[in-house]
Amino acid sequence: MTVETLLAQALKALVSGLTMGMVFGLVALGLTIIFGVMDIVNFAHGEFLMIGMYCGLLTYSGLGADPLFGLPIAAVVGFALGVGCYYGLVQFLLRGPMIAQLFGTFGLMLFLRNLALLIMGADPRGVHHGALVGKSFVMGPGIVVELTKLTAGIFSLLAFAAVWWLMNRTRIGLALTATALDGQAARYMGIPTEKMNAFAWGLGGTTVAVAGALLVNFWPVDPNVGLLFTMIAFTTVALGGFGSIPGAAFAGLIVGLLINLPPIWDAISAFSQWPILTAGEMHQFKYSFVYLAFFLIMVLRPRGLFGWKY
């Protein structure tokens, strides 16, 4: 391989890392919102994503429409799912001890996963046709970016902007922040904190389901797909700082770049004539870099990069 092709590969990995990073950020956003408002960790977060992915898939395979039409459907389904889970389960968990909260959402995870298994079967399914599927965007000689990924990155960025605006420029956003900071004080202001909690779950469900509907354009879905994303989202949230929206975006980018490190590494090692690790080894360990970064952050800055509450 020539230096040029390696360089092109590295650039492609960079773009892909940034776009995927935005999507990882969007996946983590709901988790951080929910945690920020009521200090509860949603272990079923990846399953919400899985449901969002099925929304996109079924729009395509069931309705015969372009998978992009799955986005609004996923948004609505995600909101209903979040609000439903809050009123059906989480509001009761919040009254219990910490351990009940952990096992409660863990149980929700198992339930949703097995429900999907029952309805959809175990086989991974993907989207094979669509306005974006299979098309790519040439950024330069040898630098080819899949349109599905690029669009997912851009839509994620827009979703972030929308949520940031909601949280910082609207009355309900300010009330949500107040609820996150001090629920009792928020009630003294006349803020219905139960409804705010439900809204936070709805918002979390919407964002992660939309991320799922974007993801399914290039990532096959099966009932167990949530696990990997839950782990990545936890890392992203911890990295960015619990409850921080810009933190989730920024940490998402870092995670995206880390996962796309191997091709960049290949280029560096080939370029420097000093192959420390061969490509194969690097690719096997690509998720370990994410956890290494997580470990370092926990040691050096436990409240995360943008932590504000703790």
Binding site: R171, L174, A175, T177, A178, L181, D182, Q184, A185, A186, R187, Y188, M189, G190, I191, P192, T193, W308
Partner: protein
């Protein structure tokens, strides 16, 4: 005082407990529109608990709490706020990372009218000019006195029909105590109905129409502020005479 009016707030034999220990033991009390009423008593007498019960933050397990003719003791805190009672807690409970102005706007959450909000904001800045110059500062970084001003200002933002202040002078230097109580006096002169809980018994009664003395959860004595100031109980127990 025109007593042909109905009381704006009426407590009938209210009991509140923590665990099994009754802390408020059969308190009855009335506040008429436009009055400033003080509830005084030593530490642990149950003053804050009483206010929290009115706010629905602590359940009254017996008795009735009636605000403008409606029973409110089963209502949620946020509903009680919407009916017009505002509680400024003794620990202030500001939203610390948020700015002065964000805190004030949160105080107006129960209000729908944007114009009113803006007017109230101007009113609060008139009352506490220092808050205007600090309006974008995070409240966590403000002095105790300024934080108390934000807490009171936030309480005024929603046009309360009854303002309950829980030890607004707590932890302030003597000069600031006078300033805060002077603010209460100003609010009283504007016709606001105020329930004031204070440790500074003399100063509180001097700006009140009537007062209640709370002792281990019971009303030991009540009457006009003037009578209370001259009574032996008050002079011995609180004024060191």
């Amino acid at each position: 005082m025109n007593r042909s009016e109905n009381p704006i707030l009426k407590l009938e034999d209210v009991w509140v407990r923590y665990g099994t220990a009754p802390v408020v033991q059969g308190v009855s009390l009335e506040i008429y529109p436009g009055e400033t009423v003080s509830v005084v008593g030593s530490n642990g007498a149950g003053k804050s608990t009483l206010l929290k019960a009115i706010m629905g933050a602590r359940a009254a397990y017996s008795g009735r709490i009636i605000f403008e003719g409606n029973q409110i003791q089963k209502k949620r805190t946020e509903e009680i706020v919407t009916t017009g009672i505002i509680y400024v807690p003794e620990d202030r409970r500001l939203f610390r990372p948020l700015s002065v102005e964000e805190n004030l706007f949160l105080g107006a959450y129960a209000l729908d009218d944007e114009e009113r909000k803006q007017k109230n904001l101007e009113f609060v800045y008139d009352l506490f000019p220092v808050l205007h110059s600090r309006r974008f500062q995070a409240t966590a970084t403000m002095s105790g006195g300024e934080q108390q001003m934000v807490a009171i200002g936030r309480g005024l933002m929603s046009n309360p029909r009854l303002l309950m202040l829980d030890e607004p002078s707590l932890g302030l230097a003597p000069m600031l105590v006078d300033e805060v109580l002077d603010t209460v006096r100003k609010l009283r002169e504007r016709g606001l109905t105020i329930l004031l809980v204070e440790q500074n018994v003399r100063e509180a009664l001097e700006i009140s129409d009537r007062g209640y003395i709370l002792q281990t959860g019971r009303i030991a004595k009540h009457g006009s502020a003037k009578d209370l100031l001259e009574s032996d109980e008050i002079r011995k127990a609180f004024l060191g005479m």
